[in-house]
Homo-oligomer: 389 residues x 2
């Protein structure tokens, strides 16, 4: 017979899975074999993990600086040119994005309102001295996903911490200094889009969410749509880049963007960050149309490019952060989170980095310029590459 | 190319299916062939159906009378005996329930607090004169399902009526006299259970929801559990009758009910209404233990029996309603909703009813005493039975 603890654990688990389902903490993958789309709960932990308050607060303080930094970089044409003229030589996808960026600058009219929804990813590094250190992995400036599901996960954790099924040793009151901040990322993102829509200031205009076909993470996106509808009464249309090519047009000297004859106030990108999203020239045409339009882009092409790994790497060079952040204390705070980031190009630094990676592959990961999950190459592959040399 | 109306309809449909999924408007059936349990949205209409306000208000007014009637009938031992001694002769299942009822009356202690969650089902009958008439089909006094999903359906309809995707001719403002009352049945049911728990007045006690194994309607039930937890901080345990037999016991002269060593304040039945729920004597033992216990039952065995079709049929006899409802206007209001209800026993009325059913099978349905979906036999089967004679 199972123990009470075991029984409670099973109850808690079953109850959690159902909670996840009735509250939409789900993804919607299509089974490749059967073709059946069956919504399933996302993987989640039953209770939150302890995290050093200082590191949490630091991450919180850094985000406005990160946002400022993206904006400053995106506005600095000289800097952008210097970076992307080099990247364009080796990375065709970034080259196309850079061309769109240059195209926008050639337009007589610009939409001057910019909307950024950025997510900084960190790892917590415990050094030899035992002091936890925040290490920034990347800033996502386009399609920063999971705001809805992370808000729900935080509600689920609150639900469990209040549960009589939770073993006593895990209950929050056992940790007198602990707090459980609730994630407000869903309303934050939806309200950000809603405020941009208000700034555009045309009551009948709508929001377009640019999506990939057969998106498995659709519930994360739907929550944003419904919250936006609920809080601002705004309609959101889901469109792929291919659909935008067929259904959108520009109007007037201001390049106002229309889809299905409805004016678009905001284009929120949940696609367009990977070469797979551009199977033909039509998608590039759509992207260019959107970028040169008067719609508020989240992000615009400059913000998108400013999130490149190459930018992040160059920002780590001595003296570069100082070009964009004016307070010495901000620079130091920001720099304290930098993990080592190295190029793999023909420069002297690139050759050195290559040697380091080949010699100690377990200490490195490879990452392409662009965004999107599943693009990290870990030591295993580096080892294979080395052995093939 | 599809028209804008077609495109909007598709958008609305897709958006609705996802809305149903992120908001838990779902059931969780297990596919009999594959064994896979895949949550799916329930079937729903995109917009609410028009309904005569007068009939709606009448149903609203009648419910407190129906509740009073159930209570009066359940308290009238002479009446109950006269009905169920007869039914017991032909219906083994009802006989067992009646025996449990008698057993409770033999106990020195009774729980005097009763909790009823009753749902009256109506059809709207449009007679030859064109005037819509409310026709009561049955009162469900046990396991009245779908309070959660119907609340969600009402929210979904509100969502659609506010949607710019809705064809103009369907929009609410096109119907100046129309209103869309929101269903509060989820919070109503959860708060009913919560108030019973408060009356029981033992802070560490819990609620047991009696469930069927592999319940496909689990999300309807989970919403009640989570709302109860949220509004009252009460734990709800899900148990089958078989589990109750193994895990429950009575304690003290008051017959306090314990499950897994936790005291039970309220037992909320979402099972136990069909012979299938009693595969062995163990489940009858569990049912008896619960009924003679001090826990507040929703419903208790007397309320359960008072919901029998036989009771409903007898209430339709001239003069019977007057025994239980004291105001003449209430009696008339109630009687105005009665559909014809006939016995199929050896009485003269039963033999007449049999002849009527055989002669005009398309005008009748057969219904067993007990609750639960899928138990109605329609004219097709009556025809087959006739042809087999």
């Amino acid at each position: 017979m199972q123990s009470k603890l075991e029984a409670d654990k099973n109850d808690l688990m079953e109850s959690n899975i159902d909670w996840a389902m009735v509250n939409g903490l789900m993804i919607h993958p299509i089974d490749k074999n059967s073709g059946v789309a069956c919504p399933i709960h996302i993987p989640f932990a039953l209770v939150p993990s302890p995290y050093p308050l200082e590191s949490y607060q630091l991450a919180y303080e850094l985000q406005p600086l990160a946002n400022l930094l993206v904006d400053q970089v995106a506005n600095d044409k000289t800097f952008m040119d210097s970076v992307f003229q080099e990247v364009a030589k080796v990375d065709d996808f970034t080259k196309r994005l850079y061309q769109v960026y240059l195209e926008t600058l050639r337009q007589p009219h610009h939409q001057t309102i910019k909307l950024g929804i950025h997510r900084s990813d960190y790892l917590l590094h415990i050094a030899a001295d035992g002091v936890p250190k925040l290490r920034q992995i990347e800033i996502n400036t386009i399609s920063a996903g999971l705001p809805s599901l992370s808000s729900l996960a935080s509600r689920l954790h609150r639900f469990n911490l209040d549960s009589p099924l939770l073993p006593a040793k895990l209950q929050l009151e056992k940790f007198p200094n602990a707090t459980l901040p609730m994630s407000e990322s869903l309303s934050g993102v939806a309200n950000g889009i809603g405020e941009a829509w208000k700034l555009y200031n045309r009551p009948n205009s709508i929001v377009v969410m640019l999506v990939q076909p057969n998106e498995f993470n659709i519930f994360d996106q739907r929550w944003i749509e419904y919250t936006l509808r609920n809080n601002y009464g705004v309609r959101l249309m889901r469109k792929t880049l291919t659909e935008m090519d067929a259904q959108s047009r520009l109007e007037g000297s201001e390049n106002r963007l229309f889809v299905d004859n409805v004016e678009v106030a905001v284009v929120y990108y949940r696609a367009g960050y990977t070469p797979r999203d551009y199977p033909s020239e039509r998608e590039w045409t759509a992207r260019t149309t959107i970028e040169i339009s008067n719609a508020i882009k989240c992000p615009n092409i400059a913000y998108h490019l400013a999130g490149s790994k190459k930018i992040q790497q160059i920002l780590a060079f001595p003296g570069v952060l100082e070009r964009f952040l004016f307070r010495k204390s901000d620079v130091e705070k920001f720099r304290s989170t930098f993990a080592g980031l190295y190029p793999l190009d023909d420069s002297e630094e690139g050759r050195l980095a290559y040697q380091m990676a080949i010699s100690n592959p377990e200490k490195f990961v490879l990452k392409p310029q662009r965004e999107g999950g599943g693009t990290v190459t870990t030591s295993l592959t580096i080892n294979i590459e080395r052995d093939m040399l």
